[in-house]
């Protein structure tokens, strides 16, 4: 330990309490007793969170106070009635042939469901995106969290309060969809499935709203981010659905799983099945499981921001995120391999792309932030999931390894095998994301603020990858029609760090770049550490003005 290292929890002396509670003097409880008391506590907390949540009761009471909600519901019912009447008038014409009438009645059902979908996509984010940020502005969050309330309980309360309103809107539309069933425009299964999925989408949008509401400082920003994400998810689900059906995005969506994640198209995917490991699973069940994962991640991310002493919430979030990514990798590898000509190594690298968003958070604490979080080195397994600098690389590597393992299992199950190619692509993934982490370490050793160093990480990482790729692409395009172009192109590909990322059959490139990334990362990390220490020594020598101290 050098003189500039801060105190860590290990170095802290053991403080003896002056008065020990009687329970501590009693004999240590057995494992059974511990399990019993933990399960009791869990049951009590869950009961409080879901059935008698104070935050939900308070918010719901306030939502329905005054005439605003009544007016909103009246307008909503008026729009639904007008749409139903209009569509019914079109279908019920005496000159309308019976097959056309049948089609129009089905359209009536679609129109009502689209109106409902628009309602859910508009109302759910609006209610939740401001729920937490307004409390932060009002400064009532501190009062809530100095009570024995976990962020999870509080967020579930907010989720329930916002969602209950959405569910009222859904319930109020039941008579209209009932008309469609009676007139033959839809079946009971269609309606139940669509309502179920609409409710699930309402929950997802609400949890996305809560996530942004917890993370930003202004209500308007939270609303903007939430609606942007909702719109992106709607567009993205259509794109994914059209990719998975290899067809026209609007005419070939029937039974595609991704259509369920779009409130405007979900009626088309309700009856579909998706084969997982050869077993056809109903899309609704799969969508529910995926949605639960998304909701859990969103609430976990929101909770880790709100937790005053957040080790538990943060660890849970990080563990859940790594697990979710690994499961997604396994399923994607198994499902995509037989359909398209990708290799498992390439799928692994593609599915790890979200790490680009998370690596800045895992590697950058800013120079000042690291002093606060304790400069605890570059790599410590014990710090994994704790949100400290030394835990960043272990978490990145664990995520890559978990996803690699899941991709391997998915590939074997799909009968595609692995081979040397997968190992080299795996090494490429390890190298690439370690390099991303090293960029973060370098950025963190230069800049004081967390956000500034995160931005610098993105710039360094992006430039290091994008500039050679762009140059290579430009030169290749200029020389494409010249003699020896193929040879030149092969050389150019060798110096393109992203070539293995877009090319399934280049294990040697993957191996080479994996090693290069790893070597560069080691150098970068060592440089960042020496830079950080040099700055610490420099700062320690400087006399801190005494009047700079405050609360």
């Amino acid at each position: 330990m050098n003189e500039f290292d801060h105190e860590t929890s290990e170095e802290m002396p053991h403080f003896e309490p002056v008065l020990r509670p009687k329970t501590e003097e009693a004999q240590e409880p057995s494992m059974g007793q511990k399990w019993k008391s933990a399960s009791k506590r869990w049951a009590k907390e869950s009961s409080l969170a879901y059935f008698s949540n104070p935050a939900a009761r308070r918010d719901f009471k306030v939502q329905f106070r005054g005439g605003k909600s009544g007016w909103l519901i009246a307008i909503y019912l008026f729009i639904l009635s007008a749409l139903t009447l209009f569509e019914y008038q079109q279908a019920a014409s005496p000159f309308n042939p019976i097959d056309n009438m049948q089609r129009q009645l089905h359209e009536l059902y679609q129109v009502i469901m689209i109106a409902l979908g628009v309602g859910v996509a508009l109302v759910a984010p609006a209610l939740s995106a401001t729920a937490v940020v307004i409390e932060r502005q009002r400064r009532s969050l501190d009062l809530v969290f100095c009570a024995p309330v976990r962020p999870r309980t509080y967020l579930i309360g907010k989720l329930l309060a916002s969602f209950r309103f959405v569910w009222i809107l859904l319930a109020l539309s039941l008579p209209f969809t009932g008309i469609c069933i009676m007139l033959g425009g839809a079946t009971w299964l269609d309606v139940i499935g669509s309502f179920f999925m609409m409710s699930v989408l309402g929950l997802i949008y609400t949890s996305i709203g809560l996530l942004f509401s917890s993370r930003v400082e202004k209500p308007l920003t939270a609303v903007f981010y939430t609606y942007t994400t909702v719109v992106a998810s709607i567009i993205g689900s259509v794109t994914v659905a059209s990719m998975s059906t290899n067809g026209d995005p609007f005419n070939s969506l029937q039974n595609a799983l991704a259509t369920l994640f779009n409130p405007l198209t979900l009626t088309q995917g309700v009856e579909g099945f998706t084969p997982i490991f050869g077993i056809p699973i109903p899309n609704l069940a799969l969508a529910a499981v995926i949605s639960l994962g998304i909701i859990r991640l969103c609430l976990g991310a929101a909770g880790s921001v709100l937790a005053p002493q957040s080790a538990l919430e943060r660890s849970n979030l990080r563990l859940s995120a790594a697990g979710a990514l690994a499961i997604a990798t396994g399923i994607a590898t198994y499902s995509i391999l037989p359909v398209v000509g990708f290799t498992p190594g390439l799928i692994l690298n593609w599915i790890l792309l979200p790490l680009a968003v998370f690596v800045p958070f895992l590697s950058c604490y800013g120079y000042d932030g690291e002093q606060r979080t304790l400069p605890n080195g570059l790599f410590k397994l014990g710090e994994i999931f704790k949100g400290t600098p030394a835990g960043g690389l272990p978490q990145i590597l664990l995520t890559v390894l978990l996803c690699g393992g899941a991709a391997a299992v998915g590939s074997i199950m799909a009968g595609a095998g692995l081979g040397l190619g997968f190992a080299t692509y795996g090494l490429y993934a390890v190298g690439l994301w370690t390099f991303g982490w090293a960029c973060g370490r370098v950025a963190s050793s230069f800049l004081g603020g967390v956000r500034a160093s995160q931005m610098l990480q993105i710039v360094i990482f992006g430039v290091a990858l994008a500039v050679p790729t762009s140059i290579v692409g430009y030169i290749a395009a200029q020389n494409a029609d010249r003699a020896g172009g193929a040879f030149g192109s092969a050389i150019l590909n060798t110096i393109n760090p992203l070539y293995p990322f877009v090319n399934a059959g280049s294990p040697m490139h993957a191996l080479g770049w994996g090693v290069v990334f790893l070597m560069t990362s080691i150098g970068g990390a060592a440089w960042s550490e020496s830079n950080r220490r040099r700055r610490l020594i420099k700062r320690a020598k400087r006399v801190v003005p005494s009047d700079a101290v405050g609360a």
């Binding site: 409080l48 104070p54 009471k61 501190d142 009062l143 969290f145 100095c146 024995p148 005053p308």
Partner: protein
């Protein structure tokens, strides 16, 4: 019992609280004195488990604030220097919300709420909306919120700021009452005469360091500046000042317009007697001679020198 051990909070190079330690027992009303930015709020927020200490810890009735914050929260009530009230609810609904956060069973809540409303003199406003209350009433409602779960420790951060004299007097009585009921009350403030009135223990914090701790008398005795002696003469006060300035222990002597002398004195009782005899020997006629009692404000100003603001 509250036992604070070397509590420290750093923000990068900045040490907001530099390892403070103190102990308080049941019934203690502790006045936490410091300039703006001295570290009072940071310390209180650490005790309220809203901020994680960089080092050190505190035990409340043997429970470590770092190891079991949830248990600690059940035992403390925290009133910040802002209200953080929900405007859109009624007084009883507001208290009911917090009572349910503290997991008080529904059947007991209304009784408890009635009690705390009576204690804070808000019974008449129980059905009023929070936004319709005056500032003093909102302050009392905040205190009522802190009391719904009958905490053993109350952390009151600048509770009297912005209150009129009557509301302050009521708040003072209420805090005294809470102290008598065996609760530990920590009150931060920079209105010193007020704290000296009702606190039995005080601590002066400056730049994150606890410079003085103890009963008001102890702190004043141990840290008071030089004695100020006031002498009333019939006439010739400036001449008296000239005589006294050369006496042992006299740091300064000033004559006022109405023939009074203010002597900054750093000696014992014999020295004081010498001052009187010096004046008398020089033909000056003394009508009154008294030592002015130093108060908390003098001690505070001496210790802090007003450097942080």
């Amino acid at each position: 019992m509250l036992d604070v051990k070397e509590l420290k909070k750093s923000y990068g190079d900045l040490e907001a609280v530099k390892g403070i330690s103190f102990s308080l027992g049941a019934g203690d009303i502790f006045g936490f004195i410091g300039s703006n930015g001295a570290g009072k709020t940071t310390t209180i927020r650490m005790l309220a488990t809203l901020l994680e200490p960089s080092y050190g810890t505190a035990f409340l009735n043997g429970v470590d604030i770092r190891k079991d914050p949830m248990q600690i929260r059940r035992m403390l009530g925290y009133m910040p220097d802002f209200f953080g009230l929900y405007d859109d609810v009624k007084v009883t609904e507001y208290l009911d919300f917090f009572a349910s956060l503290y997991e008080i069973p529904a059947r007991k809540r209304s009784l408890i709420i009635t009690d705390v409303l009576a204690m804070t003199n808000l019974t008449g406003k129980k059905d009023a909306f929070v936004q319709s209350l005056s500032r003093g009433m909102q302050q009392r409602l905040c205190l009522a919120r802190c009391l719904v779960h009958d905490p053993m420790l109350l952390l009151l951060d600048e509770p009297a700021s912005g209150l009129d004299p009557r509301a302050r007097a009521e708040l003072k009585d209420l805090i005294l009452e809470l102290g008598k009921s065996g609760k530990i009350v920590i009150v931060s403030s920079h209105i010193l005469p007020e704290l000296a009135d009702f606190c039995n223990t005080v601590g002066i914090i400056e730049r994150g360091e606890l410079l003085a701790f103890g009963s008001v008398d102890e702190v004043v005795r141990n840290h008071r500046p030089t004695r100020i002696i006031e002498v009333k003469l019939i006439a010739r006060a400036p001449e008296g000042a000239k005589q006294l300035i050369h006496m042992p222990g006299v740091l300064d002597a000033q004559a006022t317009a109405d023939d009074e002398l203010k002597i900054d004195f750093n000696g014992d009782l014999d020295g004081q007697a010498e001052l009187v005899s010096c004046l008398v020997k020089n033909g000056l006629r003394v009508t009154a001679f008294r030592e002015l009692q130093a108060d908390l404000e003098d001690v505070f100003l001496k210790l802090t020198k007003g450097a942080v603001n």
